[in-house]
Symmetry: C2
Subunit: 115 residues, 2 copies
């Protein structure tokens, strides 16, 4: 998926992460358009907490969710099911999806004035 | 961190993931060299299961570990502590680190002959 170049603002743990790592096949084959649609659609789902995404050879998309039920509901959304099917048929030569419970989180952000 | 463009071959869950998401400051400032050293060093740690990494504006590195003790040991490795300090001082304008227990995983890989 394409994503905004941003770090997700997630609440205090616990919550869930779906780590989706992929290698693409050659050519676009409708991937770009579907990827943008999915990014819009996922953000509208109940329980969605944020998404981070980067591609650099390997693509990594991490979506954060309130709970497992929210992940399961998103998996069954009709347009998303289609995207999952096309993913296997056309877009990915290899992928791994991992569902994980975030137990601890910390971060750091420089003040805007600091360089 | 720079990483190989590959999807980690992890065992059956449960295991742990450390999801490190970051935005870089301007300039290299020794980051590239340290990043390569860390990628080599982390792979030698007890309990290390694999790493996936991509940068595309936002950088996402996911390291997989056998258990929480392995993560804690890696956090305290001297050279890694130095890298963590430089990360805050020089390399990152913003980062988030999330420690998560992988509960479920699935994947897909096209046969080499299939296109």
């Amino acid at each position: 998926m394409s994503g905004s170049s941003a770090i997700a603002r997630t609440p205090e743990p616990p919550y869930y992460a779906v780590i989706f790592t992929s290698l693409r096949t050659e050519g676009d084959n409708g991937y770009g358009e579907m990827s943008d649609r999915m990014a819009t659609l996922v953000a509208q789902q109940p329980g969605f907490l944020g998404m981070e995404s980067a591609r650099d050879g390997v693509g990594i998309t991490v979506c954060y969710w309130k709970d497992l039920a929210s992940i399961e509901n998103w998996r069954k959304v009709e347009d998303h099911e289609l995207a999952q099917r096309f993913g296997r048929e056309k877009w990915y030569s290899h992928f791994a999806a991992r569902i994980a419970k975030v137990e601890r989180a910390y971060g750091f952000e420089k003040a805007a004035s600091a360089k």
